[in-house]
């Protein structure tokens, strides 16, 4: 009997320490990771381990709500917004305010010390197991509390949710400022732009068919337009550096940025036809001058 109890305690301890280490590590990684998607995945790890901790604390209902609402709904909302706002939006490393990181770290340490002292001063004993509706009656107990003592906050919560849904619809609604371009106008623009055909796909006539391999133009030079600006931005962030940034590449970059914004807008219009034209000159002028290591392969 005693042995079984101690074994359960050991399991509990092991689970707690494992989840504590995982969640703290994931939280630190979330603060340190540069790309927003990595932050979202690490936040999911923290939330799932917290759900297990809720279950260990005798709150099975909250554990499931944590998984369904937080990991399922809120985090998916984050990922969808990231898809709209730009998956490539990595944080800049430059400090806009001097000494901000140092000040933030000091403030964090100060807060940690303060809270540790407060929690350390309070005598937190072992959990009481009597008198509470834990176990299978957890949901019944919660329902009783919500619909009796907390019924007024519960009603206010519903008003809050309706207001939030309405606010999200109003804020996310985009008013169209110009008339929708007709098919005739778009085709005229396309012919006038000098590139009636669509942009070349990646890997066309290239030596590899990966998406990050630029297509080859008829004269053998590479077409930077064929690679998604997200990928070229990645390669630039990781790799070569300012030596490769010639005038031609910059022209190609601005052109691809123009096409990207047109793609997000959905309205097409002016930036679309100026894009390929500018890039044409960039590609023609580039030759071997701006061949990055990847393209020289």
């Amino acid at each position: 009997m005693v042995l079984a109890a101690s074994a359960a305690d050991t399991t509990r301890s092991i689970t707690f320490w494992l989840l504590a280490i995982i969640s703290v590590a994931a939280g630190l990684g979330m603060v340190l990771a540069r790309r927003a998607v990595h932050c979202a995945v690490l936040l999911a790890v923290v939330m799932l381990s917290l759900a297990v901790l809720y279950a260990m604390l005798g709150a099975p209902f909250l554990a499931f709500v944590q998984v369904i609402v937080y990991t399922g709904a809120v985090l998916m909302l984050f990922l969808f917004v990231m898809m709209i706002v730009g998956i490539s939006s990595a944080d800049s490393i430059i400090e806009t305010i001097r000494g901000q990181r140092m000040a933030a770290a000091l403030a964090g340490i100060g807060l940690l010390v303060l809270l540790t002292f407060i929690v350390g001063h309070a005598a937190i004993g072992p959990g009481t197991r009597t008198g509470a509706a834990y176990g299978s009656s957890n949901i019944n107990g919660l329902a009783t509390l919500i619909f009796t003592r907390y019924v007024f906050p519960f009603e206010i919560t519903s008003a809050l949710l309706i207001t939030a849904a309405l606010g999200a619809m109003v804020l996310a609604h985009a008013e169209r400022t110009s008339a929708k371009p007709t098919q005739r106008r778009l085709s005229r623009q396309r012919v006038a732009s000098g590139r009636p055909a669509p942009l070349p796909g990646p890997g066309t006539y290239a030596r590899h068919n990966a998406v990050d391999m630029p297509a080859l133009l008829p004269d053998g030079s590479v077409s930077r337009l064929s690679v998604s600006p997200v990928i070229t931005g990645l390669a630039r962030g990781a790799g070569p550096g300012p030596a490769v940034r010639t005038e031609a590449l910059r022209a190609a970059d601005t052109a691809s940025a123009g096409t990207a914004s047109a793609g997000i807008n959905g309205t097409g219009g002016g930036s679309h036809d100026s894009g390929p034209a500018g890039a044409d000159s960039g590609d023609a002028g580039s030759g071997d001058a701006d061949s990055t290591p990847k393209e020289a392969r």
């Binding site: 979330m30 730009g86 806009t96 509390l145």
Partner: protein
């Protein structure tokens, strides 16, 4: 033996990590995620204290915190997309240009 004090300590650590993230990060989406981390840490403390006292009130409060957090995320991300649509940036440094 793991007592509720351990859980409260873990929640303190997670809260501080989230707070430092809010202060340090520049991308508004990541700032929101760090706020979510802080709210989660507070929830953990609520549930641990509910366990400590042997009542369910802490769990009910944690449930309300979850609802408020969900509403906050919805409105915040909608504002973020509205700002991104006009400014083409999700950095929290840029909207201070509004005052000029």
């Amino acid at each position: 033996m793991i007592s509720p004090g351990h859980y409260v300590a873990l929640s303190v650590i997670l809260f501080v990590i989230g707070g430092v993230g809010v202060l340090v990060r520049r991308n508004a989406i990541v700032v929101f995620m760090c706020v979510e981390l802080m709210l989660n840490a507070v929830n953990l403390a609520f549930v641990a204290f509910a366990r400590l006292h042997g009542t369910l009130d802490g769990q009910v409060i944690a449930f309300f915190v979850m609802v408020v957090a969900a509403a906050e995320v919805v409105v915040g991300l909608a504002i973020l997309t509205a700002i991104f649509r006009t400014r083409r940036s999700a950095s929290v440094d840029d909207p201070n240009l509004l005052k000029y």
